[in-house]
Amino acid sequence: MKILIVDDFSTMRRIIKNLLRDLGFNNTEEADDGNTGLPKLQAGNFDFLVTDWNMPGMTGIDLLRAVRADDKLKTLPVLMVTAEAKKEQIVMAAQEGVNGYIVKPFTAQTLKEKIDKIFERIENA
């Protein structure tokens, strides 16, 4: 399982990376916004994307749109981990096809639950 972590703050990337490692996901890569993340997704065989929303350059919601618009990537599960907690934004992310939405600050338990739920749903689909 190869996971791409996209966040403009290196500390947040590192936290997510460590949490994922604790959950048994050792194969992770990082990018600091959509502009650097999207080429990585297109080039590598990623199985999962964890992205922030508010980033300079290309935001997470635009990255999500780009992923869904890309024939090779459109089924990639996307988990959004963001401080944006407005109802409108969560609805927007859902409409754009996000698979899970976590608001910061979050716990390791929340991350595990959401990832489990996403894969559970994919397996049942």
């Binding site: 936290i15 460590n18 401080a83 907690a85 969560i90 910061k104």
Partner: protein, 250 residues
């Protein structure tokens, strides 16, 4: 601006002189002109005095403005200084986070290794209890146990020093707290000065509808500060988000 009163008696006297000289056919044009000039000079005096008064007023307000150097200090020194301080807050918090994460990244495998070694020893011990160990195996277990004790001692002291490192890294909270407090005070002061400015600008303008902030929703709100947002529009936490997503069929 108040008008300086004209010396009416003197003006009347001069005017009467002018009328008398006009009525007299002997008065030359030059003489007439000099009378008119004299009367004109009343106006010039008046203008001169007004000008003087204005100059004084302008001078006073410039002096007052200069004395109020606090405002220019705010703009020239304090605000850039506050920006530097806030940058420093970012640096310090980042450093603390990285320190803690480095210790954890280093310490986790150590703890995992000790745990794994303990499991192996536990299995051997159970075999020993069931008298399933040969003499050679028992000797080997003795060595393993000794090695495990040595390693545990070493690794635990490593982990402990890591904990101390994490503990020390938390000093950023005190320092950043102080810096942020200073910046809050500065913002307070700027606010007070802005209020003064608005007051000076005059009541009529102040009474106008306050300009509404751009309410375009595409502006990202950023992290929610506890107790700040009362709008129903904003999720209070993950549970709210989950409920919302559930209502959307997630």
């Amino acid at each position: 601006m108040e008008a300086v009163p004209i010396n009416r008696d003197l003006l009347l006297e001069k005017a009467q002189e002018l009328v008398a000289s006009l009525e007299s056919p002997e008065t030359s044009d030059d003489q007439l002109e000099s009378y008119i000039d004299e009367i004109n000079s009343f106006k010039d005096n008046q203008l001169f005095q007004e000008l003087g008064k204005m100059t004084r007023e302008i001078h006073d307000s410039i002096m007052k403005f200069r004395m109020d150097s606090r405002i220019s200090n705010l703009a020239e020194t304090d605000i850039p200084d506050a920006k530097d301080r806030l940058e420093y807050v970012i640096t310090m918090t980042e450093k603390a986070a990285n320190t803690a994460m480095a210790v954890i990244e280093e310490g986790s495998p150590v703890a995992e290794k000790l745990g794994a070694e303990a499991s192996v020893l536990k299995a051997q011990w159970q075999k020993f209890r069931k008298r399933e160990l040969s003499a050679d195996e028992l000797r080997s277990m003795g060595h393993d146990v000794e090695a495990f004790f040595d390693e545990s001692e070493l690794m635990m002291s490593k982990l402990l020093s890591g904990f101390t490192e994490i503990l020390m890294a938390q000093d950023f909270q005190d320092l950043t707290g102080q810096i942020i407090r200073q910046v809050i005070n500065l913002v307070d002061e700027i606010e007070t000065n802005l209020v003064e400015l608005v007051k000076i600008q005059g009541e009529t303008q102040a009474k106008e509808e306050p300009v509404k902030k751009d309410e375009e929703e595409t502006v990202l709100a950023g992290p929610q500060v506890p107790g700040k947002e009362t709008s129903d529009d904003v999720m209070k936490g993950q549970d709210d988000v989950d409920d919302l997503l559930a209502s959307l069929g997630f």
